[in-house]
């Protein structure tokens, strides 16, 4: 069971059978089934409170048209945060390190926001290309720049999530390899590297939560522009 640096990013297989479906679905087993009980146990009640707080926070600026996306965004957030945080355990596979997953989440959702904007109010959607108060000389340049920035959004969303998680995992593996190899040669350096590893792990936990939140927040902002 030698683990190289790149094994963590391979899509899991068992005797050449792909296990990616199980990898994507099994985190849902950790979430409670919605009950009709009056009061639930501790984890579920805290989860209910935090999910409702998140929903209110994200959907307050959006109008009633945007509230239709509530289920979509909140379930997306729960999906991403579960995958990210579970991926921090050793020997686990994090599906969000695959660009295929993040891009296939980002592109349709971004495209949906753009199309909704053009469908509801094409003038206003096009007007986003030109911020208010630009000097007339800059208008052609700015139009091109703004169009490019809108077009690059799905790639940016996908790559942001993927790169953050991949970089984090890679760093963790590199530093823990360093600690492992240094314990025999230079123990003091190994202890320093271990301290660094501890801090990095804390950072990675934060990054895992924040990246999921940022993904959903940016999508809600794109929706706010266009709805």
């Amino acid at each position: 069971m030698t683990v190289t640096l790149f094994d963590q990013f391979l899509s899991p297989t068992l005797f050449k059978m792909p296990l990616i479906a199980i990898a994507l679905v099994s985190p849902w087993l950790l979430h409670h089934v919605v009950t009709t009980r009056f009061s639930s146990e501790r984890l579920l009640s805290v989860k209910k409170v935090s999910v409702s707080a998140l929903t209110k926070h994200i959907f307050q600026p959006l109008g009633p048209l945007g509230h239709k996306w509530a289920l979509m965004f909140v379930s997306l957030f729960m999906f991403l945060i579960t995958l990210n945080v579970l991926g921090l355990l050793p020997y686990t596979f994090t599906p969000t390190t695959q660009l295929s997953l993040t891009f296939s989440l980002a592109l349709p959702l971004w495209l949906a926001t753009v199309l909704i904007g053009f469908r509801l109010d094409p003038t206003r959607a096009l007007a986003h290309m030109l911020p208010q108060g630009t000097p007339p000389l800059l208008i052609p340049v700015l139009i091109i720049i703004e169009t490019i920035s809108v077009m690059i959004r799905p790639l940016a969303l996908a790559v942001r999530l993927m790169a953050n998680l991949t970089a984090g995992h890679l760093l963790i593996h590199l530093i823990s390899t360093g600690v492992f190899l240094l314990t025999s040669m230079m123990p003091m350096t190994a202890i320093l590297a271990l301290a660094l590893l501890g801090l990095l792990t804390l950072l990675e936990i934060a990054v895992a939560v924040i990246q999921a939140y940022v993904f959903v927040l940016l999508l809600s902002l794109y929706l706010l522009e266009n709805v």
Partner: protein
């Protein structure tokens, strides 16, 4: 959590294929939870007891009769040594990372666990308090309305007394009014009679005075001057005589 996986697969197995129904019947003796959903079975108050945070207490109880208290620990140590020596589990950089994140998780659970549990319990307490408050408020509203109803019934009993008092009041007012009127009538009649009396008295007095005046006038006019001189001379002689007698009396 894993029981959910079991439930999902079991419910799909039940309907499938020729052995599905047979499996359902054959495994009936192995089922431990209640097989009906109503009344809803209560949630247990405490979670399952675990030792060292992960291992369920039932495992230790299972091994206790045969291997005593140290049995499970020996099993764990032996298993670990077996995995390591046979190189089924290889120590590599992931082990370092596993130790690191294991330490972080244990530290977080130990530090923030009680706070988290308190927060969750507070949420539950608030929910319960809200439901209790709703129940209490509706109970108190109903009790107040019962009190009000009883008071109304008591008031209805007193209605007869109220009417009697009112009747008495009215009778007294009528009586007073009648007496006032009688009084007034009496006064008026007396005034009129007094007027008549005064009128008669006036008449009599006027008649008297008139008669006296007439008599005086006729007497005065009947006195002749001769008579007047005679009466004056007589008066002077009487006075002289009187003066002489009084002088004599005074000298004596």
């Amino acid at each position: 959590m894993l029981s959910r996986l079991v439930l999902l697969s079991a419910s799909s197995l039940k309907g499938s294929g020729p052995i599905g129904a047979g499996v359902v019947q054959a495994t009936r003796c192995l089922r431990t939870s209640s097989q009906s959903l109503a009344p809803v079975p209560p949630l247990p108050e405490e979670g399952g007891k675990v030792r060292h945070g992960i291992f369920p207490e039932e495992f230790f109880q299972l091994l206790y009769p045969k291997t005593g208290v140290t049995g499970p620990y020996m099993l764990g140590t032996g298993l670990l040594c077996y995995l390591l020596s046979k190189e089924i589990y290889i120590v590599n950089h992931e082990t370092i990372y596993a130790l690191t994140i294991g330490g972080i998780i244990v530290y977080c659970v130990k530090k923030f666990g009680p706070g988290f549990a308190e927060f969750a319990d507070k949420i539950y307490e608030e929910q319960l308090a809200k439901a209790e408050a709703a129940k209490e408020s509706s109970i108190s509203i109903l009790a107040k309305s019962i009190e009000a109803e009883k008071k109304e019934q008591w008031r209805v009993e007193g209605r007869g007394l109220l009417f009697d008092a009112k009747r008495n009041n009215v009778a007294m007012l009528l009586e007073t009014n009648m007496r006032e009127r009688l009084h007034m009538v009496t006064n008026e009649v007396k005034r009129r009679l007094d007027y008549q009396i005064a009128l008669q008295n006036l008449h009599r007095r006027m008649q008297q005075e008139h008669m006296i005046n007439w008599v005086e006038k006729s007497v005065v006019s009947s006195i002749t001057p001769q008579q007047e001189k005679e009466s004056i001379a007589k008066c002077i002689a009487d006075l002289k005589a009187l003066a002489k007698t009084s002088q004599a009396q005074a000298a004596a």
